[in-house]
Amino acid sequence: MAAKSSVGNRVFRTLASVKTGIILLIILGVVAAAGTLILQRPMTDADQMTRAYAPQTLRWLDRTGLTDVYHSWWFALLMAALGVSIVFASIDRFPKAWRLVSRPYRRPEPHFRAVLPMQRSLAISHAEAGITAAEKAFRNAGLKPQRTVENNQTAVYAEKNRWSPLAVYVVHASLLLILTGGIVDAFLGYKGYLMLTPGQSTSKLEQQNGVTRPLPFTLRCDGTGQENYPDGTPKKWWSKLTVIEDGRVVLRKEIVVNDPLVTHGIRFYQSGYGQTGEVESLLLNATAKGETRQITLRPYQAAQLDADTKVALAEFIPDFVMRDGQVYARSKDPVNPAIRLAITNTAKQAKSEVWLFPALHQQSGNSPFQFEFADLQMAAYTGLQVSHEPGQWLVWAGCVLMAVGLVMAFYLVHQRFWAIAVETKNGPALWIGTAADKNREHYEESFTKFVEDIRADLARQDEESVPAGKRLVQA
């Protein structure tokens, strides 16, 4: 039984030690660095990976998880070990630190007085005068003096920023909060990408890992666009989004980069914008028998040409190229469009087809109508980064807490003051001492000044306590 507890104790001690913490920090640093030097799967194309590494090397890298360091089990284990090390170190040291804060060392014993670096002794007429002067000086410095009497000896204690020694626990707690936030997001969070064109809506999300997840609402895109600077570089991408629940519109927002839509804890970020290669609307001038008429064509919608002729957009190739008698699209930019129109004559029950090549001013096919290209609106899509990160609030709370902790740790100095009336061989004296947990040189100066103030006060007291007549005699 005893042996068992000593093993547990040893494990605890090892994990709680600063050495373990430092070793973990070093290992984490090294593997994190390795992850930036070796190509990582989530950020690299598969064929780029095969080009960069020999097959055998790549197999080995994959098996060890070095191609996805930050999501590997051993990286998670290292983080967990760091978390455990922080917790154990805190459990190990906190009680002692707490004792020091809750029950401060109020009475400077002789052995303590012997070794304290910052201390002075002032000659006083009697104990009470010295203690009163010290208390007054403490109060003037904005401190609350606490008086203790033991064995007829009076001591005064005061302190400043008494909580500052606990700052390191605040910082460590904040780190744990951030780690917890990360873990919560690893298990409960998800990310995905949506591509919507104006008018389109969805209530499903394809996640990064390929799984499709239903959304508790329907998201509709009401429009998207790009604004440019005069020099042509993009200035702004925007999308108008509408959230629909049970057929009712509950939220509308125009999102831009840096300003997402948030609903049900899910965030929609403007992250991409581009051309679908599809037509939104096509404006044509149709001429037959000397009569010209302007028609607007949209996908899947027929337009009336005359009383019994209809025309529909059958196919649109934004940038066509002929190869082996076939029509191919070279790009999604409408630089050299080919337009196929389906014309139906309801009276004659006849169908015909027309190809238009606006860039070449050509029309092929059999139709009494002469079509002339007037205007074209291409459909754009908006790319939305979707993320659900319930743990982020823990992360932000951790960041704020860490800021508080670091300010406490570096800039709030725990300073303690003691004053005690002692008997020396030259008569009664007031012993004053101070200790600061950082920035000692600075406090050496202020302590000297502090002591000088008490000395001056004592001198004044002495003068006042001496009767006027005596003073004259002395003079």
């Binding site: 600063v18 913490g21 430092i22 920090l25 070093i26 984490l28 640093g29 994190a32 660095a33 992850g35 930036t36 030097l37 990582q40 950020m43 930050y70 390191v168 990360g182 990310k191 600077y229 020099d231 570089t233 993009p234 200035k235 702004k236 991408w237 831009v256 980069v257 840096n258 300003d259 997402p260 965030r267 970020y269 403007q270 992250s271 980064q385 979707v386 993320s387 990160e389 982020q392 992360v395 932000w396 960041c399 860490m402 800021a403 670091l406 300010v407 570096f410 920035n439 040189e441």
Partner: protein, 468 residues
């Protein structure tokens, strides 16, 4: 020889004034020449003129600080300090002018970051000098500022509007914090070096470290060595002031013939002192060290030739490329990495020379080792919370922009590694009571990681932070 030394000692005033007058005349001459050309252009108050003014004064300050470092004449510091202050004022106006023109703080690209970085370095130098009385700090920081301003002249400086992802207040906060944190890290590095000097670290150790660093830099540059002594550099589109890309992420490289041989020669020359140092340690022969120091002189001479060759051959010349037909121009701005490497190596070697010649004088100028150790710690006490805040704000911004507060992109990861290094330093110092040498080594390591995060990641590792 001895008579000359004696006469200098007898008339210190005249020799002091020599440098002062020289620097003042140089600065006046350059300012006058600049003024003439400005009058011809008719546009007095603009950013490039202000920057030029800042450069002149920072240059003058550097000369005086180095003069102070070498001779120990206190009076130089006073004038150096004034020159720094004037340069700083011009720098502030230049940054302010850019801010005014762009309608946003100047942090959007590497040119503007350098502008802000130089500004911070000059500010911290003045603060360190006035508040902490570390007078010799300018010897290190002002040449750094000058290098920064020169590098800026080579980078594209047109005010670009912000791409959408950068249109956020958090960006300004993030970058300001980064600049402040990195400048504090730079200061802690300089202080740690001074500590090592004051702590009686042997001069030959500095020799080994300096040669090692120069060797590492030239080894890095040698990765660009091509067949038959060529040096591969990026092609440069002078009209648009940008690199030429074959496809996304793949730069068009051109080969400068023969330059590789010179650089290889310098590499060998920088290994020589290191080798002799090793021999001296192994055979325990102190007299070898004199030879090692001679080798350093030769190395510096060769480095200067290499730098000159590099500058001359990259400016306004076109070279063939192994990847495409025809000749393509290149420019200094296309190889900021090589250029900073070459300049850093020369600068480090010169600092070593200063130490070698004037060790005793330098030590007298520095505060005592304990004080330096404490100030180093205090500087890191400033840098660490700034680093933390910088990372936190960056995470918040990333969350606003990319929908994820942490995505392990190289810059993020290296910022975290920097944070880990300084966290390690603080633990060792506070709980293990590490003082002195070991703490100084840690501070130096921390700054090396910072430099890699700032330059290395930007140029070597691809990632989301591509615009910085």
């Amino acid at each position: 020889m001895s008579r000359a030394t004696a006469s200098i000692e007898r008339h210190p005033a005249s020799s002091n004034n020599g440098l002062l007058i020289g620097v003042a005349l140089g600065m006046a001459f350059l300012t006058f020449m600049a003024f003439l050309s400005v009058v011809k252009q008719g546009n007095l108050f603009n950013e490039s003129n202000l920057l030029y003014l800042a450069l002149i004064f920072y240059g003058g300050a550097s000369a005086l600080y180095i003069g102070f470092g070498v001779t120990g004449v206190e009076r130089y510091v006073k004038f150096a300090s004034i020159a720094t202050a004037i340069g700083f004022a011009a720098n502030t106006l230049a940054a302010g002018h850019r801010w005014y023109i762009a309608g946003r703080p100047p942090f959007a690209n590497i040119y503007e970051m350098l502008l802000s970085f130089v500004w911070t370095v000059a500010l911290l130098t003045l603060v360190a000098e006035r508040k902490y009385k570390v007078k010799v700090i300018g010897t290190v920081t002002m040449p750094l500022a000058v290098t920064g301003v020169i590098l800026m002249q080579l980078l594209p400086s047109a005010v670009h509007p912000l791409v959408p992802a950068l249109q956020s207040t958090w960006l300004q906060v993030h970058v300001t914090l980064a600049m402040l944190a990195y400048a504090a890290c730079a200061l802690s590095f300089a202080l740690a070096m001074m500590f090592l000097i004051r702590d009686q670290m042997k001069t030959e150790t500095f020799l080994a470290v300096t040669s090692g660093m120069v060797t590492a830099i030239y080894l890095g540059i040698m990765t660009r060595f091509e067949k038959w002594g060529g040096l591969a550099v990026s092609a440069w589109d002078a009209q648009n002031k940008e690199e030429i890309f074959i496809q996304k992420g793949v730069r068009l490289m051109v080969t400068i013939p023969d330059l590789g041989w010179i650089l290889l020669l310098v590499l060998l020359a920088s290994v020589v002192p290191l080798a002799i140092y090793g021999m001296a340690k192994w055979r325990k022969r102190e007299n070898f060290l004199t030879a090692a120091n001679r080798a350093v002189f030769i190395g510096i001479a060769l480095q200067v030739i290499a730098l000159g060759g590099f500058i001359l051959r990259t400016r306004g010349a076109a070279y063939a490329s192994p990847d495409a037909d025809g000749l393509y121009p290149t420019a200094l701005a296309a190889s900021p990495f090589i250029l900073s490497g070459l300049i850093t190596a020369i600068f480090a070697s010169l600092l070593y020379l200063m130490l070698y010649w004037r060790r005793a004088g330098l030590e007298r100028l520095l505060p005592n080792a304990d004080a330096l150790d404490r100030i180093t710690y205090k500087t890191i006490g400033i840098a660490f919370p700034l680093l933390t805040a910088m990372i936190a704000v960056g995470a918040y911004w990333a969350n606003q922009t990319w929908g994820s507060y942490w995505s392990w992109d190289p810059k993020e990861t290296w910022a975290a590694i920097t944070w880990l290094v300084y966290a390690g330093y603080l633990h060792m110092r506070i709980t293990r009571g590490w003082r002195g040498r070991r703490a100084a080594y840690f501070a130096i390591l921390g700054f090396a990681v910072v430099m890699f995060t700032f330059f290395g990641v930007t140029y070597l590792l691809p990632g989301l932070h591509a615009y910085a």
